[in-house]
């Protein structure tokens, strides 16, 4: 067996792909015209691999011609049988040209067969092919790569010998928190089809993503990785070397080749090796063991299916620490997005159907025993079935914590964990928090023996694991009888109220210590968030209190105290101590930024922001757009384009990233005139924040302000919006010029 076999096959495969891409491009140009637009849906990254590697934008069919030309230059001649020339570099080039060609092929498929791929996160009964992840999915999922809930992905090509083996492997990958990206067939079936046949829920929500029935669909995985480097890593398109090294060092992905490895598979695998993604095969193909382009081996073969994933993580150099949680179902972030619905539901609590609440509160050390879990009322299987055949029951989850370092400020932080910690359990679905929580337990979980008490056990185990530094003891009571739930609900609501008043009362002016957040530095090395009480983290996940607690828990962790220092400009929010910190943290790239302005030295953005605000000069105001909104905006750019141009740790005046919550905080763009400058936001965002927007309007003395904010139903061009604002008498129109 020889590496030369791989080299020859990969180069042959690359030639086939480039030939095919060229032919398809020519046909498409004949059919649609050279000026016809082409691309993947809803993305600011064009054909992302080509854009990332070459800095070349493919917007129209004619833009593919230079790409094909480049492929031809990259394509090496076949490997000679005897006296061959060095081929490793050539094979890698062949692999890269394969990826370019595959992007051409797949994007033309979007033209020829517009409905071949779904444009959603979920599969349907008659179509499981998800195709390219749009920027909304990429950002949402990318954040999980950023914060570590997903360390990487497994790109699976082919199929397992049986659907049972496929299901077992998928579950193992899910337990290791990895995404599974699937493409290509073997033996007339695909891994993703096998999962469906085995009754496994697939789609983005369960991290089992069925891209395509063809191996060319693997570029959706590689394109995802390429975009992560540009979006989160702040690497410029065309800076191919940095993008590839970023992936080698930070995106822990690998290829699992399941079945006979064809020339086309070899060529695709060669493309992946450029990114440092090795291939692990279940067939006895030649191996490439010496290291260098990947972190460790490049191709490892003939691995039994029950060892493949362990081998793959070892070869990729990935350490996955899976917490043992004492519950009878599988447990981990991969199960967070799994749904429980319809006939699958065994039991339901909350969600407006019954009372439900979650409450964490501090007690004296001697009041509880650590690890005590009790169920006050009926267990899941004892809940009665109602006349409609449904099992509905009230639930109050009361978590008591105690410890010398425990502060009441940490209670809401612990409480907020309950949502995802419960959701991590396979077969359990959790929505909401506090008194609007909603729990569904699936039949599959009950079959495995899941009980209310398990919720207590998993909360105890996970809270200890993640927050053990701030408390010593934790006990959980699951109240499931109506009287007790009513009583706890009243106490909990009292606590929520007190808490909100305390947090709401915190002001930047009276706080001397802010916190940095470098949680996403594993992915976005050039950006540093600084979080103050009135400017929560732009990703929406971290507020000032969270940072404070995080620092207490892990003093050398990603949240460090930043002395506010001398106030250089109270209106714009410019602080000497913060400036000094960011100068150091950005290695001198950014020496100053303002907390409350988007016009002057705005804060940098990592690409994980929930919303982006942009100036609308004609309207004399600002708009903001959330990442879920896919449509056009009056500033002329969709969210994806905005995020693409300003992610990666640069300060770009006229634009700023922020969280949804921040919109109704008192200091929101206070330096540019404040909340009353807000003239446009998507309808969906307005609806989501409606109550808080209304309260904030009252605070600034314009009770109907929320109704003065335009949305896409008014228009997505500045002029239409301006006319509407003028007509409505929006205050921004008559304010001082925002351009200064």
């Amino acid at each position: 067996m020889s590496v030369k076999i791989i080299a020859s096959a990969a180069i042959r495969g690359a030639h086939k792909f480039v030939d095919k891409a060229e032919e398809q491009m020519k046909q498409a140009i004949d059919k649609f015209g050279a000026e016809h637009e082409v691309g993947f849906p809803n993305t600011a990254y064009y054909l992302p691999i080509i854009f990332g590697m070459l800095g070349h934008k493919v917007e129209k069919l004619k833009d593919m011609e230079p790409v094909i030309k480049r492929c031809r230059l990259l394509l090496p001649p076949p490997v000679k049988e005897k006296l061959h020339l060095p081929y490793l570099g050539q094979v890698l080039d062949a692999g890269m040209s394969t990826l370019f060609a595959q992007e051409v092929i797949e994007s033309i498929r979007y033209l020829n067969e517009p409905n071949f791929y779904l444009q959603s996160e979920d599969v349907t009964d008659d179509n499981i092919w998800l195709g390219a992840a749009d920027d909304v999915i990429m950002r949402k999922r990318g954040v999980e790569f950023v914060d570590g809930t997903a360390p990487g992905f497994a790109a699976i090509v082919g199929s397992a010998p049986t659907k049972e083996i496929a299901a077992e492997m998928a579950l193992e990958l899910q337990k290791k928190n990895l995404y599974v990206f699937m493409a290509s067939e073997h033996n007339g079936t695909c891994f993703s089809k096998q999962l469906v046949e085995a009754g496994v829920q697939i789609g983005w929500n369960t991290r089992l993503v069925s891209f395509s029935p063809d191996v060319s669909g693997a570029i959706f995985a590689v394109g995802f990785a390429t975009r992560a480097a540009m979006s989160f890593g702040g690497i410029e398109p065309g800076d191919y070397r940095k993008i590839l090294i970023y992936n080698k060092d930070r995106v822990f992905a690998f290829v699992l080749a399941m079945g006979d490895v064809s020339d086309e598979w070899y060529a695709t695998a060669a493309g992946c090796i450029n990114y440092g993604f090795p291939t692990i095969a279940d067939t006895p193909i030649p191996e490439i063991l010496p290291t260098g382009v990947c972190t460790y081996e490049h191709v490892v073969s003939n691995i039994p299916h029950n060892e493949m994933i362990a081998k793959a993580t070892e070869v990729r150099g990935l350490k996955v620490t899976v917490a043992e949680v004492p519950v009878p179902v599988s447990y981990g972030p991969a199960f967070e997005g799994e749904r429980v619905r319809g006939a699958d539901i065994y039991l339901e609590c909350g969600g407006g159907r019954t009372d439900m609440c979650e409450w964490v509160h501090t007690v004296d050390m001697n009041e509880i025993n650590d690890g005590d879990v009790s169920v006050n009322g009926p267990e899941m299987t004892e809940v009665a079935v109602n006349e409609k055949g449904k099992r509905l029951g009230p639930l109050a989850i009361e978590v008591k914590v105690a410890g010398r370092k425990m502060e009441s400020d940490y209670e809401p932080i612990l409480e907020r964990q309950i949502h995802h910690l419960i959701n991590y359990a396979q077969g359990i679905m959790h929505i909401g928090q506090r008194d609007i929580a909603w729990l569904r337990v699936g039949n599959s979980a009950i079959e495995k023996g899941f009980k209310f008490a398990d919720i207590g056990r998993l909360l105890h185990a996970k809270l200890h694991q993640d927050f053990g530094a701030v408390f010593d003891k934790c006990a959980v009571i699951l109240h499931t009888n109506q009287d007790a739930v009513t009583e706890i609900l009243a106490k909990a609501r009292e606590a929520y109220k007190t808490r909100d008043e305390r947090v709401g009362g915190m002001k930047d002016e009276t706080t001397d210590m802010f916190y940095s957040c470098t949680l996403c530095q594993s992915f976005a090395p050039s950006h540093v968030c600084v979080i103050s009480p009135e400017r929560t983290g732009l990703c929406g996940s971290y507020n000032w209190l969270d940072c404070k607690a995080s620092y207490e828990i892990n003093p050398t962790g990603p949240n460090q105290p930043v002395e506010k220092g001398e106030v250089l400009d109270q209106v714009l929010g410019n602080f000497k101590g913060v400036n000094e910190f960011i100068t150091k943290a950005s290695r001198g790239n950014i020496t100053s930024y303002n907390f409350y302005s988007l016009m002057q030295e705005p804060m940098t953005t990592c690409g994980c922001c929930e919303c982006i605000a942009a100036v609308l000069p004609m309207c004399n105001g600002i708009m903001t757009v959330n990442r879920e909104y896919k449509g056009e905006t009056p500033c002329g750019m969709k969210f994806t384009t905005l995020a693409g141009t300003m992610g990666g740790g640069i300060s770009s005046p006229g634009f700023v990233g922020h969280s949804k919550y921040n919109i109704t905080q008192r200091k929101f763009i206070a330096g540019d005139g404040g909340f009353q400058r807000l003239v446009w936001m998507p309808k969906m965002l307005k609806e989501e924040l409606y109550d808080r927007l209304k309260v904030r309007g009252e605070e600034i003395g314009i009770p109907n302000f929320v109704d003065l904010i335009a949305d896409e139903t008014v228009g997505t061009d500045e002029e239409t919006v301006l006319n509407w604002l003028t007509e409505k008498g929006h205050p921004a129109v008559t304010m001082d010029s925002i351009i200064g």
Partner: protein
């Protein structure tokens, strides 16, 4: 006891050499092998470095330990005399390489300032890179304009009197500091050679250590000066080499072609001969003489130069120059400078071919001189080929003996191509090389370079040393006549990895698709090895200086002063360097200690000597193992698995 006559089989391991040597003997033609026999036993004093003829009070011959005979007339000791002789050899070698570099720079200047030069700027990317190395503004300047400045700046390096040579800055920072602390950073190229001649003049510098420091400074002006200018600027003019295949040995000559041997060192003429050999006018003339075409074949480093860039086959190495003529198939041998036997015209007289000298500095009484002028390069080249073609009909019938011996091989490795072949266009780097040295699949890297010497069995020492090294997983980089020896022995074929290399090296060779022995070019191209070694240091994981690398150098069949200069610049660059055949200071203990011991304290690299090829290779491997241990890579390392925290720590 009667002296045993040496057979051709004793002289060489190369079949083509053996066969043609038999023909030469049958024709009673004297070759270097016969002349060596006549010379032996050689002067004992000269061999040991104990003879001084620098003034007319001598020659003085030193007998160490014998009172009255242990000093020269002036009072010079064995150590003073041997150190002086040694650095004079460096001066000789460095001036040869540097003059080569100067000629290239002058040609580049002509190309850059003229519209009608026969040469052109072939590698613009390289020109831009060189410009940046030399601190020359690139901007959006015209490439000719940039090259003009490159040539001017390079030429100025030769006559520079103060400061530091520019390419010194390409070395690892730590290395530069060592040189500065020892005061051996060359001020200019020519100045260091002149200073050696001055210091070794009667009655000037008598301190062996002090003399050897100047020797180091002069050698550095070769390796990081003249030679490097030669290589870099040749790449601009003629293109940076890329991997290619070719053939080697006297069997490349054909019965029906005009066979022309190009012998010497500089590629200026040979590049034009390649172009002229394809010229329609020339081909028509050649056909009119009854031949089907022109077969060029190189000898010595000219061979390597046109091989690396055009794949022109190699006729042979240094000791085959006379034998090429003995085939009666070599219609002409066109020579320029260095390593050319003055015996060639007399050997040629016994056969049908002609010798043409072409360099204005190098003539032979009985050879025809057709001076090569870079202003009229193509015309001269065409004329030379046509003169060779005139000899084609004169081949004596029935007396043409082309040995049917050839071997195929892969060559064309440069720093740039190594970088590419290890990672492709998008991930080019030395990382895989460093990684596999760190993980022990490759034990280390050895440069095996240099000449042939009839005192040892031709090619045998090169081939034996190289085989022993690769068997022990040492990757070999080779240049010069050593590279040709390795090519003839089949060691430059990728298939040689499985046959001759240890399992670790073989695995890496198979992964990259390379032979276990990498042909890096001519002897000025040893500067490529310096650049490659520096790239390894800069890639990281193998220390922070050249002397930290598990690497060493060897010239197992050396004979020329150039070899001493190369050896010294390798030693001064921190590389353990071992020579075979003989060593020119062995009679002087103090000087030898300076070279073999003290230099290791000064430079981290040192000289060594071992004639036995296996022991020679073992000493190299010992040194590599010593360096591996110092780096802490002598033991297997645990695989590091990264979690999120580890990834956050990547800056």
């Amino acid at each position: 006891m009667a002296k045993q006559e040496k057979t051709p089989q004793d002289r060489s391991i190369d079949q083509a050499t053996i066969q043609t040597l038999e023909i030469a003997q049958a024709n009673k033609v004297m070759t270097c092998f016969d002349r060596l026999d006549s010379q032996e036993p050689g002067c004992k004093f000269g061999t040991q470095g104990l003879c001084c003829k620098n003034c007319a009070m001598g020659p003085c011959r030193i007998i160490v330990g014998k009172e009255g005979k242990d000093r020269g007339v002036c009072g010079a000791t064995a150590d003073t005399i041997s150190a002086r002789n040694f650095i004079r050899m460096i001066a000789g070698g460095a001036s040869a390489h540097s003059d080569h570099g100067r000629n290239v720079a002058e040609t580049l200047l002509k190309v850059a300032t003229s519209d009608k030069s026969d040469y052109q700027i072939k590698d613009e990317q390289k020109a831009i890179k060189v410009a940046m190395d030399l601190g020359i503004e690139v901007g959006d300047r015209d490439i000719k304009d940039i090259c003009k400045e490159i040539a001017e700046v390079s030429l100025a390096q030769f006559g520079q009197q103060h400061g530091e040579l520019k390419y010194i800055a390409k070395a690892p920072i730590k290395r530069q500091e060592i040189w500065r602390n020892l005061g051996v950073v060359p001020r200019g190229i020519d100045r260091e050679t002149v200073e050696i001649m001055h210091r070794t003049h009667m009655g000037v510098d008598h301190d062996p250590e002090h003399l050897l420091l100047q020797g180091a400074r002069c050698a550095l002006s070769d390796g990081w000066g003249g030679s490097m200018i030669g290589t870099e600027l040749q790449d601009i003019l003629f293109g940076t080499p890329e991997p290619l295949t070719s053939q080697v040995n006297l069997g490349i000559m054909k019965d029906d072609t005009v066979n022309i041997s190009v012998h010497g060192h500089e590629p200026l003429l040979s590049e034009m001969l390649v172009a002229a050999s394809l010229d329609p006018e020339v081909l028509a003339y050649v056909k009119s003489k009854g031949a089907t075409g022109v077969q060029l074949g190189g000898i010595c480093c000219t061979a390597n130069e046109i091989l690396m860039r055009h794949g022109v086959p190699i006729m042979g190495n240094f000791l085959q120059q006379e034998l090429a003529l003995a085939t009666n198939a070599c219609d002409a041998m066109i020579v320029d400078v260095q390593c050319i036997f003055p015996s060639l015209p007399s050997v040629a007289a016994c056969f049908h071919g002609s010798i043409f000298t072409t360099a204005h500095i190098a003539k032979m009484p009985e050879a025809e001189h057709i001076e090569f002028d870079t202003d009229n390069a193509l015309e001269t080249a065409k004329k030379l080929i046509m003169r060779a073609a005139d000899n084609f009909p004169k081949r004596p019938k029935g007396k043409v003996n082309i040995p049917q011996v050839t071997e195929e091989f892969v060559a064309g490795f440069s720093h740039e191509t190594i970088n590419y072949m290890l990672g492709g266009s998008f991930r080019a780097s030395y990382r895989p090389l460093n990684d596999n040295i760190i993980n022990g699949k490759i034990r280390g890297v050895a440069g095996v370079v240099g000449c042939n010497n009839p005192k040892v069995q031709h090619d045998n020492v090169h081939v034996t040393v190289i085989k022993e090294l690769i068997k022990n997983d040492v990757l070999v980089l080779t240049t010069g006549c050593g590279a040709i020896a390795a090519a003839k022995a089949g060691l430059l074929k990728p298939e040689a990895a499985a046959e001759f290399a240890g399992p670790g090296l073989a695995e890496v060779c198979e992964t990259v698709g390379i032979p276990p022995v990498i042909h890096m070019g001519s002897c000025v191209d040893n500067s490529r090895i310096l650049i490659a070694a520096t790239a390894m240091v800069k890639e990281g994981g193998l220390g922070d200086d050249l002397s930290d690398l598990p690497a060493c150098g060897s010239a197992p069949e050396w004979m020329s002063e150039k070899a001493i200069s190369i050896g010294q610049y390798f030693v001064s660059s921190g590389v353990y360097t071992i020579f075979g055949v003989t060593f020119p200071t062995l009679g002087a203990e103090g000087t030898t200690k300076e070279l073999f011991e003290h230099m290791e304290e000064q430079y981290g690299g040192k000289w060594d000597f071992e004639a036995d090829p296996i022991k020679h290779a073992q000493k190299m491997i010992e040194h590599i193992d010593k360096k591996r241990k110092a780096l802490g890579i002598d033991k297997a390392r645990e695989r590091v698995l990264a979690d999120m925290d580890a990834r956050r720590e990547i800056s």
